[in-house]
Symmetry: C2
Subunit: 116 residues, 2 copies
């Protein structure tokens, strides 16, 4: 099944999409950027880079280190708002795009899902 993905494009270098939102959700779930990165098959370093890019892009932190713990992190209110807004938008889009996704799904086949 094909997936419809959204992306907010600020510039060629600054884009917010599925991967970054998943990372934020992981931080919220695991309380740690490294654990969130690991759960997405991403290096610790890459996870931090993406969070850092978001902090810069939004001009305020989306996640911060938790005091008193080693390596712990949590979303800020901004980080949580972004995730919530994104998921609602995805839901709205997915509701109106059902026919279009089906159209592309019928045309596009993932070779790895095909049986011979």
């Amino acid at each position: 099944m094909v997936a419809l993905r959204l992306q907010i494009r600020v510039s060629a270098d600054v884009r917010i999409g599925h991967g970054k939102i998943q990372l934020l959700e992981g931080v919220d779930r695991y309380g740690s950027i490294s654990a969130a990165a690991r759960a997405l098959g991403m290096s610790y370093r890459r996870g931090w880079e993406l969070i850092d890019h978001m902090n810069t892009a939004f001009g305020r932190p989306v996640a911060v280190g938790t005091t008193g713990s080693t390596g712990g992190a949590e979303l800020t209110d901004l980080g949580r708002d972004i995730v919530a807004r994104w998921r609602l938008l995805e839901q709205k889009v997915s509701q109106i795009a059902t026919d279009d996704v089906a159209y592309f799904d019928e045309l596009l086949q993932d070779p790895s899902e095909q049986s011979s």
Copy 2:
């Protein structure tokens, strides 16, 4: 202003998005893959690669060479359908996402657009 972009994801390697659709539109407009690529600041080789990827992904050509001309190309019915379907989907999404795009636009600033 931030832009909301759509992407149809088949697999990690196979994705249809803004760039490929623009390329198809360019082929339709200019009657040539190289001219379409040039208009997007893309190399001739890259333009052909993307068309080739799409032909493979859809299992049928989205664009074909025009007989009797050198280097000319045109969209197939499939290619035209894909562009039309995509643009309609974009319109529908943009109508329901106005508030969400404004939300992200207020938070995200393109540094290149900021004056000091």
